[in-house]
């Protein structure tokens, strides 16, 4: 445990920022970390430095390398190169257990505790106190009670099964367990994703309490407001590299978004970087319209309208609720609030089959999990949704199937040795084309494409973008989610921006620019911004953590 008081370390913390490169009092220092998986670099020359009693944010888009870096720190992965110093000593943890006993505890997004066992069993899982070879229940329960007391949970019955408590309490138990290892650094990976606002406020109180007792925190989150509410510094990762390490007070939300996405503010928009043509599409009547759609905590209030012949871009940071919105629109998840209209008629989708009947095609963002049937052939994968239409009395008509398959292989330029080839043998780009063909074979009026070019090689990427453009020319409505700003700015006629589960801005083509989109991602609408400030303020209650954005910098 650190012996210097909270106030003292706070000032030294501030002084340290002035002298770059010499943060001698750092609790954790990771330098030049490299890690590849099968020759593909996941983390390159990354560094992460966390001060004593510091709450340090770690942010970045999907695939930026955050979790790899965390896992290298906690001993899940072995690094290829680089050095890690913890408390001034070079360390190399070979397992999470070792990291834990050395003072580095991790709380994962999914609470990885045992729901059926009691609270105290969970807190002491794997290191139960024993007496004469048997579990010492009395000591275990008493200790647990004491540990939970530190988090304002003295009312919790420690003998109850963990699963019977609400999620927020479970999360606290997970934190209590992590801290009870005499943790000096607690890593929280998206701890707030399953919590509501009041629970988030409690969590922040806990983080501040930890800080006051000398514990540092690495806080991984996609919600910008939260970072500003509780964090002192932020490290930004992009494409496996750490690209910035800044005090929260010196970076605005907009700057932070720009760094995450790798854009210079005011960067001239490059044209022609994508396969989209220049032709602006005329929007026709609304094909699909969602109003105030809500589902769970990820989708709170989203409205979007897509007409025939237009490409609507859906932008937002990771966790903004884009995929959740797409899934509701495609019938994959049922909405819990709001209204859905197809061609003006109020509609209910209780399954993807309903959306397909309404001639709405959907391409998911996760090709492996929700797209391909890996062991089946290109033929079977391509015609999976169309089979009933290709059959007579339940028997597939081979000639019809072959005709459709060959037409799309040719039209989309799918590189395959033939319809019999298992789809898993195809490249990512060609798998994606097969899945797009699966949707197109249904002759949809509307296509919902979630990250259509993710994990696709450059050549196929341009081809897919060109195809989307052609389809819109032919009158198909397209709703396209993309994390690549070029794809959105060049491809879309209209851009809808989401933030924290809400659609916060809609930009007509004339107003579409990378800057405008980033601004909306960071702040949303004016009134939305006030909302955010209000909740952030509410979370601020006990100590006076610096309100960073107001300061110059």
């Amino acid at each position: 445990m650190t012996t210097d008081g909270d106030g003292g370390s706070q000032t030294s913390e501030l002084r340290r920022e002035e002298v770059d490169g010499d943060r001698g009092g750092s609790l954790l220092r990771m330098r030049g970390i490299d890690k590849s998986f099968g020759g593909v670099p996941a983390v390159r020359d990354a560094s992460l430095e966390v001060g004593r009693t510091e709450v340090h944010a770690l942010v970045g888009q999907n695939g930026a390398g955050k979790s790899t870096l965390i896992k290298i720190l906690t001993g899940v992965y072995r690094r290829d190169a680089g050095e890690i110093e913890f408390d001034g000593q070079p360390v190399e943890f070979s397992s999470t257990q070792q990291a834990q006993t050395s003072g580095v505890s991790t709380i994962y997004q999914e609470i990885n505790l045992v729901a059926m066992r009691s609270v105290s069993e969970n807190v002491f899982l794997g290191r139960e106190p024993r007496r004469l070879g048997a579990l010492d229940w009395r000591q275990m329960n008493a200790e647990t009670h004491k540990i939970l007391g530190r988090f304002g949970l003295e009312d919790v019955d420690v003998t109850r099964p963990l699963g019977s408590l609400n999620v927020a309490v479970q999360q606290m138990v997970a934190i209590a367990r992590a801290v009870s290892y005499d943790a000096r650094l607690v890593i929280m990976d998206e701890p707030t994703s399953s919590l509501d606002e009041r629970e988030v406020a409690t969590l922040f109180d806990v983080i501040r309490a930890l800080k006051a007792s000398g514990v540092s925190t690495i806080f991984v989150s996609h919600r910008l407001d939260e970072l500003y509410a509780v964090c002192d510094r932020v490290t930004v990762m992009r494409d496996g590299q750490t690209v910035a390490d800044l005090p929260m007070s010196e970076v605005t939300k907009l700057e932070l978004v720009a760094v995450m996405l790798g854009k210079e503010l005011g960067e001239v928009r490059r044209s022609g970087a994508t396969g989209f043509g220049e032709g602006a599409h005329e929007a026709r009547d609304a094909v699909l319209e969602g109003q105030r759609l809500a589902r769970g905590k990820m989708l709170r209030d989203a409205s979007v309208r897509v007409g025939g012949g237009e490409i609507v871009g859906l932008a937002g940071l990771l966790g903004a609720g884009r995929t959740e919105l797409a899934r509701v629109l495609a019938g994959a998840d049922e909405r819990e609030g709001g209204e859905l209209r197809v061609a003006g008629e109020p509609t209910d989708f209780s399954s993807p089959a309903d959306a397909i009947k309404a001639r709405i095609g959907y391409l998911s963002e996760d090709r492996k999990t929700f797209g391909i049937v890996p062991e089946m052939s290109v033929r079977d994968n391509l015609t999976l949704a169309l089979l009933p239409a290709l059959s007579r009395r339940g028997i597939v008509v081979r000639q019809d199937q072959e005709r459709v398959v060959n037409r799309f292989i040719e039209r989309l330029g799918i590189k395959t040795s033939g319809p019999d080839q298992p789809i898993r043998e195809l490249s990512g780009g060609n798998q994606q084309k097969v899945l797009i063909a699966r949707a197109l074979a249904l002759e949809p009026r509307l296509l919902i494409l979630d990250e259509p070019t993710r994990g696709v090689d450059v050549g196929a990427k341009g081809e897919i973008q060109g195809l989307i453009n052609e389809l819109a020319d032919d009158g198909l409505g397209v709703l396209m989610i993309s994390s690549e700003l070029e794809e959105i700015t060049e491809g879309a006629n209209r851009v809808v921006v989401m933030r924290d589960g809400r659609t916060v801005a809609e930009l007509p083509r004339a107003d579409v620019s990378q800057e405008a989109i980033m601004a909306a991602m960071a702040h949303g609408h004016e009134d939305e911004e006030l909302d955010g400030a209000a909740t952030a303020g509410a979370n601020e209650a006990p100590p006076k953590a610096p309100e960073p954005r107001e300061r110059d910098g």
């Binding site: 495609a330 994959a332 399954s351 993807p352 089959a353 959306a355 397909i356 009947k357 959907y362 998911s364 999990t369 929700f370 797209g371 391909i372 049937v373 890996p374 062991e375 089946m376 079977d380 999976l384 949704a385 089979l387 009933p388 059959s391 339940g394 028997i395 597939v396 298992p422 699966r438």
Partner: protein
Amino acid sequence: MARTARLRLPAWTGAGRLRGFGQAYGALAALALLVLYNVLFTRDFLSLNALYVNLTQVAPIVIVAVGMTLVIATGGIDLSVGSLMAISGALAPLIFLSQSGLLSSNAVAIPLAFVLPVLVAGMFGLFNGGLITRFGIQPIIATLVLFIAGRGIAQVLTSGQLKAFKEPAFQYIGLGRPLGIPFQVVLAALLVALAAFALRRTVFGRQVLAIGGNEAAARLAGIPVNRVKLAVYGISGLCAGVAGLIAIAITPRPIRTESG
């Protein structure tokens, strides 16, 4: 009766093609060794009669395996087939041995003794499917219910004991020999051919395989996943029902169900 039913999986369910081939050849090699051993050391093994005896014994298992193959192809399992065989096998004699009303006439009772037990087993199969699709219970747990309860149901049906019977019209399914070939062997061959055709050529079959290959993707492709699953468990029940009839026709006493 042999206790192990070897189930032929479609090649693609293996983790990789190589391993798939390995599995296929491994089983074939074991079979070849068994045959070789028996050719060398078992008297009269290489006779048509010995072949028929073997096929006769294996036919009910093949029939159960047809339904089970569909279930496994969706990524599930059906533990209850042994118990469903017992229920069907217990029910059939009750029908044609009954002296009450219309059932006293063999013209009514015998057809009914074929149809009704199979349908009942099919209904129990649908019950399994309902637990799995409607309540999201793991197949191994859901079908455990009837695996255990089914034996009890069969015992209650027979009041714990079954009289030995002799009813040639019914026992044809187990003892009949059209053109010298055991009837149940013909039946098993037909069902295998039907299932193979269904899996290869019908929409239903392709959907079964797609669900087993990637259920989430199948659902997003508009496949009625729950309906297909319900159907495969129903079919598994029907197959178990047919197998139960054969078993009771060969040995008219209560079927041991411990084999599952």
